[in-house]
Amino acid sequence: MNASTFNLFASLDWSDIGMATLETLTMVGGSLLFTVLLGLPLGVVLFLTGPRQPLEHARLYAALSLLVNLIRSTPFVILLIILIPVTVTLIGTSIGVPGAIPPLVIGATPFFARLVENVLREVDRGIIEASQAMGATLPQIVFGALLPETFPGLLAAITVTAITLVSYAAMSGVIGGGGLGDLAIRFGYQRFQSDVMFVTVAVLLLLVQALQVFGDRLVQRFSHK
C-alpha cells in the first residue's frame, strides 16, 4: 500500500476541475438559451399544425415531425461528428466551448420542441375555444392564453432539457468540446486517472441535482392548478 491509496485525490488539480465546471456551465447555459429560442417556436408550430388544432396542416406537420424524429433518433455522439463541418462554417471552429454549442443546440432543439408540443397538447381545448369565442386572433391565443397557461409545464420542459444538455455537453468532450467531459476523457480515460473521472462524475451529478431542484421550485412557484 502506498500513500496515494490513502489520499486518493492528492494528485488532483482542483483549479482544472473548477475551470472545466465553469466551461460546462457556459456550454449548458449558452446552448439552453438557443435551444429555447429555437425550440419554443418550433414546438408551438408543431402543436398548431397538429391534428385537430387551429392551423391543422397534415403535410407540414408530417415534415416537421420527421425532421424532429430524425435528429432525435441519431445518437448524439454521431450527431456531434456529422455536425463538425456545419459548426466550422457557422463559427469558424469545432472545438472548445463555442465549438460545442451548435451541435448541442441542434441536438436538443427537437427534443425540447417535442416537449413543448406535448405540454401544449395538455391544455384543455376549452381554453382555446373560449379565446376564439372572445374574438382572439391566433397570436393572441398563443401569447395571451396558451403560453401563460402552460408556463409551469414549459419551465419543467426547460429543466428536463437543461439536464439533457449537461450530459450532451459532457459527451461533446469526445470531439474536444471542453468542460468536464473533456477533462474526464483526457485525464480520466486516456491517462487512467480514475480520481479525475470520479470527481467529474460527482460534479456532474451535483449539477444535475441542482438543476432539478431549482427547476422543480420554479414550477411550483408558478403553478396555480
Binding site: 369565442a133 395571451g144 401563460p148 397557461e149 392548478k225
Partner: protein, 335 residues
C-alpha cells in the same frame, strides 16, 4: 334579433358523414331568453356554436341584426365575436391567470381601452357578479359557482348584445344552479341582453326562458312560448323531457283509476283562485285531485292537476265549459 335560416352541419367521423343539425330555422328576438333543449347528442352545442361561428354551418344563413354572419370577413368576425359573449359548462378559465386577469383578457383583445379603463371595468364586472374580494385569486381557489361567475363577467366584459350559454349550469349543484340562473336573468333584464342557452334540464328552461326550442337528433321538433311547450308538449321527446321535471298523468290507466279524468291547466293569476271549489259548488260535482304540480314558469304561476270527477252530474262537456269560463284549460283524459 337572430334569424337562423335552414342551417345544417355534419361531421365526418372515420370517413362517415354524421349529421349534427339538419335544416334548422329559428328566430330569436332581441332581449329575450331563448332556450334550446334536447337530450345528449341532439345537436344543441353544435347549434349554439354556429351563432358565433365556432362551428360553421355547411349550408343556410344566420342573420344577426340583419347581416349574415356566415359571410363576414375575418376581421369582421373577430369584431362580431368580441360583441358576443359565451359561457361554458366547464368554465374554460385560464388557470394561470387570476380572476381579474381572466376578466381583463377580452378587454385586452379588443385593444380599445387604457389600463385605467380596464381596471375600472374589471372592478365593475366583479361587483356585478358579486366576486368583489376575489380579484387576485386563481380559478383553482374558487368553487364551481364562483368560477362560472368569473366566466359570466368575462363574457360581459366588452358589453355584448348576445350571450351564448352552453350548458352553463350543468356542472353545478342545484342551489348554485339557481343562483347562476338568477344572475343571468338579472343581467338579461338590466342590460336588455339577448341570451341563447342550451340545456338538457327542463328546470333551467322553466326558470329563466321566454321561449324554447326542442331539438331531437339534429332536428327542431317543437318551438314556442315556454308555458305552452311545458304545459302542452306536442312531441314525444318534449313530453319525455317535461315528465322528468314534473310528471303528470296522461291516462287513467296509469293511475289505476276509472271514471272521468280531467287535466286542468292554470296559468297566471287564476292559479291562486279557488276555482275548483266554486265550480264544484256550481255544478254539484266533487273533484278528487289525483296528481299535479303547482309552480312558476319564470315569474308566471301555473298549476297542472289531474282530477277525477265524482257524482251523477259529472258531464264532461259541462265541466269543460265551466273551467273554460275561468280561463282554465280542461282536457278530458282517456280512462
Amino acid at each position: 334579433m337572430i334569424e337562423i335560416d335552414n342551417i345544417s352541419k355534419h361531421y365526418v367521423v372515420d370517413g362517415v358523414a354524421i349529421p349534427a343539425i339538419s335544416g334548422i330555422s329559428l328566430r330569436v328576438e332581441a332581449g329575450e331568453v331563448f332556450g334550446i333543449i334536447g337530450v345528449s347528442g341532439a345537436g344543441k352545442s353544435t347549434l349554439v356554436r354556429t351563432l358565433n361561428l365556432l362551428e360553421r354551418p355547411d349550408s343556410g344563413r344566420i342573420r344577426v341584426d340583419g347581416s349574415d354572419i356566415t359571410t363576414l370577413s375575418k376581421d369582421q368576425l373577430l369584431r362580431y365575436r368580441r360583441k358576443t359573449g359565451m359561457i361554458f359548462q366547464h368554465f374554460n378559465l385560464i388557470s394561470a391567470k387570476t380572476v381579474g386577469e381572466n376578466i381583463r383578457f377580452p378587454l385586452k383583445l379588443a385593444g380599445e381601452y387604457t389600463r385605467a379603463e380596464m381596471d375600472r371595468r374589471v372592478d365593475e364586472l366583479l361587483d356585478l357578479v358579486e366576486l368583489g374580494g376575489h380579484r387576485d385569486k386563481y380559478p383553482a381557489q374558487l368553487s364551481g359557482g364562483q368560477k362560472q361567475r368569473v366566466g359570466i363577467a368575462r363574457a360581459l366584459a366588452n358589453h355584448p348584445k348576445l350571450l351564448l350559454c352552453d350548458e352553463a349550469t350543468s356542472a353545478l349543484d342545484p342551489q348554485t344552479t339557481q343562483s347562476i340562473l338568477s344572475l343571468l336573468l338579472d343581467i338579461n333584464r338590466r342590460f336588455g341582453l339577448t341570451i341563447v342557452l342550451i340545456t338538457h334540464e327542463m328546470d333551467v328552461i322553466r326558470r329563466i326562458c321566454d321561449r324554447v326550442a326542442v331539438l331531437d337528433r339534429g332536428v327542431l321538433v317543437e318551438e314556442g312560448v315556454v308555458a305552452d311547450v311545458l304545459l302542452h308538449p306536442q312531441h314525444e321527446i318534449t313530453r319525455a323531457l317535461v315528465q322528468e321535471s314534473c310528471p303528470s298523468a296522461t291516462t287513467g290507466q296509469r293511475l289505476g283509476l276509472s271514471g272521468p279524468l280531467f287535466r286542468l291547466t292554470f296559468l297566471g293569476a287564476v292559479t291562486y283562485q279557488p276555482i275548483l271549489q266554486s265550480i264544484s259548488a256550481a255544478l254539484d260535482v266533487g273533484f278528487n285531485i289525483v296528481e299535479g304540480v303547482v309552480g312558476r314558469i319564470k315569474e308566471t304561476p301555473y298549476g297542472q292537476i289531474t282530477v277525477q270527477a265524482l257524482g251523477d252530474a259529472a258531464d264532461p262537456a259541462r265541466i269543460a265549459a265551466a273551467f273554460g269560463e275561468h280561463a282554465v284549460r280542461c282536457e278530458a283524459l282517456p280512462s
